[in-house]
């Protein structure tokens, strides 16, 4: 089992979710983050005080999948999130030791999906 974390552009979320659905990956957790990356942010101005604006809004996706779904998930994310501009984000993949569905108590492979 793998755990995928992806940081993407906020406005690509709908696209990525749609692509994931296509690949039959339904379960996913999303949260707001801000990120500093290669993308140059827009410096903001407050009463003539400039803020570097290095931290940009991003969306963080977390997806636990069985091993055979890893590639599908990555493809879906890349497919939905790539615009070709800096700031498109990253995908990180972790080994997931155990997974448990709270409602049923199922674990491992069965609990993922």
């Amino acid at each position: 089992m793998k755990y995928i974390i992806a940081m993407i552009q906020p406005d690509r979320l709908d696209e990525v979710l749609a692509k994931l659905t296509e690949k039959e990956i339904h379960l996913v957790t999303v949260s707001n983050v801000v990120g500093r990356g290669r993308q140059k942010g827009i410096a903001t101005v407050y009463r003539s005080h400039k803020e570097a604006g290095s931290l940009l809004r991003k969306m963080k996706l977390e997806i636990a999948v069985n091993d055979d779904y890893v590639q599908k998930a990555v493809d879906a994310i890349v497919g939905g999130a790539r615009t070709g501009e800096t700031g498109d984000g990253k995908i990180f993949i972790f080994d997931l030791e155990q997974c448990l569905r709270i409602r049923t108590g199922e674990t491992g492979h069965d609990a993922i999906g």
Partner: protein, 469 residues
Amino acid sequence: MSNIFSGGAAAGRLSLAMKTAGLLIAVLTGVNAWADGAALAGAAVLTAPTPALPAPMISAGDTAWMMLATALVMLMTPGLAFFYGGLVRKKNILSILMQCFVCLCLVSVLWVICGYSLAFGPDTGHVIGTLDWAWLKNVGVGPGPYAKTIPHRLFVLYQMMFAVITPGLIIGAFAERIRFSAFCAFTVLWSLIVYCPVAHWLWGAGGFMGTQGGFGAVDFAGGAVVHINAGMAALAAVIMTGRRQGFPESLSPPHNLPLATLGAGILWFGWYGFNAGSALAANGLAVNAFMATHLAGAVAGITWCVLDWLKFGKPTTLGMITGAVAGLASVTPASGFVDIDGAFWIGIGAGVICWFSVTAFKARYQYDDSLDAFGVHGIGGIWGMIAVGFWATRAVNPDGVEGLFSSGQATQLWAQFKAVGITMAYSFGASLLIFKIVDFILPLRVNEHDERVGLDLTQHREAGYTVID
């Protein structure tokens, strides 16, 4: 499905615009011919004072009321900003607030410079005011020709707030995608080229649609001048700016409904100044307008709730406040002419008609009137103006008009129809033209990247809220 609202094919848009412009010219030519004939009677109004009556006196009570009404109408512009602002996505909230405040600042100054004179100044040819009152020359704090018991400049201020909020209403149509500089240019041009003439036609002494030597159409507080006018410009805006990215599948829900509700509350509060203030005095007529306004807003709010309840199983907060605004907009032209029966039916009608326009019509034609500026204000205004022709009665306003139900005659109804038709045509055509011109010089729409990032950052270098703190 293909339709005229997609904003995709520039060529098609152009030809449409041209046709409209043609129509417009035709209409105006005819109108001018007609107006010239009626010039004598109309022009007399301003020039000939009524010497027999005792000299008009400023009334402290009326002045107090009209200062209040002015302040209330001013507050509606921030109110509108919050109403609209709560409905967009977080990344565009400031762009809405900014645009509303720009209307407040920019149009106020324009109004003093020449807007008031164009709209209400001494008539020329029944179509527009002269510049005799530009920069408030000859406009003092003594009684003025439009309201005899309050300082003339108070009337200027009161009308200023109407001129301010009208372009503000249009913001709902191109929200989340307009370039700020183009917006500013449009607002200036539109105020002068569309708002001032239309205000003159209905309200200016000698205007060709009004009661003093015109069609005899009436518009108590701005059903045509404000709501239809803004609504049709909104339709033009929708066509010219096209749809937002992701419309309609992945539109985000309103980012802050409590903010929108605050805006609606302020709007409702301010609307008393808008409608009851249009009596221009603290008298029974103002109270009648107050009552009609409140009742129509309340009834329309309930109506929208009921329709939502029937269709979606639950009434929504956004539906309730949208309904209330639709009711308030619809009763605007009628509030000084109808009794509570009229107000009641106008409210019901506003709820039903605007609900359908937003639900069925917009869904059918898939145009992206982002915040339903056309669907609520345009449609509501049309309904209200027509409704005057049905429910108006001299029983509540001896100086008013008689509608179909009280007089059995359709004269007034016909006058209202004409005023509605011409306002719609002119506002739509001229707005389209202005958008066209502005777009030629300053692209109307932000580029794709800026739209994605949001207008707050790209147009104003600010963020509405901090994320981490």
